[in-house]
């Protein structure tokens, strides 16, 4: 960690207070104030909110369609993962249902986005551990999946593709062939990733047994997603509260028992394969048909409330919309996985070494923009 100390405060005795971030190569857009005693962290106080843009408030004075682009911005790496739960909730309020083909295309986009997001995470994790090759490889392979998503959604990362009633446009005719070609290539690459990174003794020395989360603590702190699965709990919203047509495809939930940084990495790596398996099955299931249920006039919600939980790349994404019958939602509440992972991070950092901080921090896949909303 180069220039970890932006701000040093002497607490007397052997303790020092270090401010890590917001201008720090490893902090992203947030700050964490750690108290160190020698090399060990004895206190960690996160200071999020550097990217708080008031998405929930803004959602109150935009209508259901206008809300999609700005609710996508908190996690543009996982654009479909964050808009899909919003759209599903809005569909409950407006009382429309998307046709089967649209549901399948949504699943394809959600899984593509999961891969794109995980590969971004993997690249940055490589940098965090000082492994530049592992930045270049996933970032390069990520572009192939971005190309696939771009051919459906029309832009590199911010598609705003899922809309109430279906999806915006159909996928191109040769999509299946292109996708299968990419998957073939990427499956071979995963083996190479394992050779160069995951089975590398240096990598395991820096992550194995580091930042170990207990099963009970994970449940108590409300950790979700891959971080929870790495503690040995096979919880996946795609299976637990199935949405879209995830009940028609067959996939495994990768889990690990150890709960350390290495387990979290391996779980994410295996999820890449599972996402590709889901998409392959969807290609066989998908049939020609309409992609959108056209809604005439302005979309108006029925008075009432609805909520939906989905599995985004970082964990469970939860939307709660209250409507009073107007064309704007009355209240939109977003509960994001990153914020809960932040609580987990504070818990894990205390007691570990300062040098292990990057390895723990990014193994949780904490995305500050998402946590701040």
């Amino acid at each position: 960690m180069q220039n970890a100390a932006m701000n040093i405060e002497d607490k007397g005795g052997d303790q020092l207070v270090l401010h890590v971030g917001p201008q720090h190569p490893g902090s992203g857009h947030f700050r964490i104030i750690v108290t160190v005693d020698g090399d060990y962290i004895v206190g960690a106080k996160p200071d999020p909110g550097y990217v708080h843009r008031g998405a929930e408030k803004m959602a109150e004075y935009r209508d259901y369609i206008q809300n999609i682009p700005h609710l996508e911005r908190p996690v543009i790496i996982d654009a479909t993962g964050v808009t899909l739960p919003y759209v599903l909730t809005a569909e409950k309020i407006i009382d429309v249902e998307a046709p089967d083909r649209a549901q399948y295309i949504r699943m394809i986009m959600a899984e593509l986005n999961r891969i794109i997001s995980h590969l971004y995470w993997l690249g940055i994790y490589g940098i965090f551990l000082g492994h530049s090759t592992m930045f270049m490889w996933p970032m390069g392979d990520r572009e192939l999946f971005i190309d696939l998503a771009e051919s459906i959604g029309g832009t590199r990362v911010t598609f705003s593709y899922v809309v109430p009633g279906g999806v915006r446009n159909d996928m191109p005719t040769n999509f299946k062939e292109r996708a299968l070609k990419t998957f073939d290539y990427f499956e071979k690459r995963i083996e190479e990733y394992k050779k160069i990174f995951f089975n590398n003794p240096l990598m395991s020395a820096r992550t194995e047994g580091i930042g170990t989360m207990d099963k009970k603590d994970a449940i108590r702190l409300g950790i979700t997603g891959s971080n929870l699965r790495a503690c040995g709990i096979d919880s996946d919203t795609r299976k637990d509260e199935t949405y879209c047509l995830y009940d028609r495809v067959d996939f495994e939930i990768p889990t690990r028992k150890e709960g350390d940084s290495y387990a979290r990495c391996i779980v994410r790596l295996e999820e890449l394969q599972q996402s590709m398996n889901i998409m392959k099955q969807v290609f066989d299931l998908i049939e020609p048909g309409p992609i959108k249920q056209v809604i005439g006039g302005v979309m108006r919600g029925e008075p009432g409330e609805a909520f939906v939980r989905t599995e985004a790349a970082r964990g469970t994404m939860f939307y709660h919309i209250v409507s009073d019958g107007e064309k704007n939602p009355y209240r939109v509440k977003i509960s994001v996985p990153s914020f809960r992972n932040l609580i987990g991070m504070t818990h894990l950092l205390v007691g570990s070494r300062l040098a292990d901080m990057p390895a723990i921090y990014w193994s949780l896949d904490y995305w500050p923009v998402e946590a701040d909303r």
């Binding site: 917001p22 720090h24 708080h52 008031g54 408030k57 970032m139």
Partner: protein
């Protein structure tokens, strides 16, 4: 003798000629050399302000590779940096930090406003916590539109900045 207008004219002409020669043969090459050195070794600060940082990261990836154009990857130490790329939305909490970062960078320094949010608030034009354009607090040299700008657009912005540096005074 001293007040002779012809002589005054002569002296004036001579100093003009001298100035021109100096300009052409000494200052111009020095300016060219200094600018040339600066423009192909831009060091951006590692200050992420919002979601545009993803495309900034993708631009340093292997497909787009901004290093080809003489801009290095984001770097941690402010004392070595000369470009501040404002990667998206600047909120009220981030704004003072960004100004400090800018003030700590050594001269000469340039600022690129990346993304609609950094230019004018963009999508968050009516948000209560977003600075409506970073040029209110730091001087901006190049604006890169987009939400987020594609890596190609970022590269074009960097080339625009290099053109600006090429013409600048030393």
């Amino acid at each position: 003798m001293v007040n002779d207008p012809t002589l005054n004219l002569l002296v004036g002409k001579a100093s003009d000629i001298l100035d021109n020669t100096l300009e052409k043969n000494v200052r111009e090459p020095i300016r060219f050399l200094v600018n040339w050195g600066r423009l192909y070794s831009l060091w951006p600060v590692h200050l992420e302000t919002a979601c545009c940082s993803i495309e900034f990261g993708a631009a340093s990836g292997p497909r787009h590779d901004v290093e080809r154009f003489g801009m290095l990857e984001a770097f941690g130490s402010l004392r070595q940096c000369d470009v501040l790329v404002v990667q998206g939305t600047v909120t009220r909490k981030m704004a003072p930090r960004m100004k400090w970062v800018y003030e700590q960078m050594p001269e000469p320094k340039w600022v690129i406003a990346m993304g609609a949010c950094a230019i004018s608030g963009g999508l968050y034009m009516d948000s209560y916590n977003v600075l409506q354009g970073v040029d209110k607090i730091v001087p901006v040299d190049v604006y890169i539109p987009g939400c987020p700008p594609r890596p190609e657009t970022l590269i074009q912005g960097i080339i625009e900045l290099q053109n600006k540096i090429r013409k600048s005074k030393v």
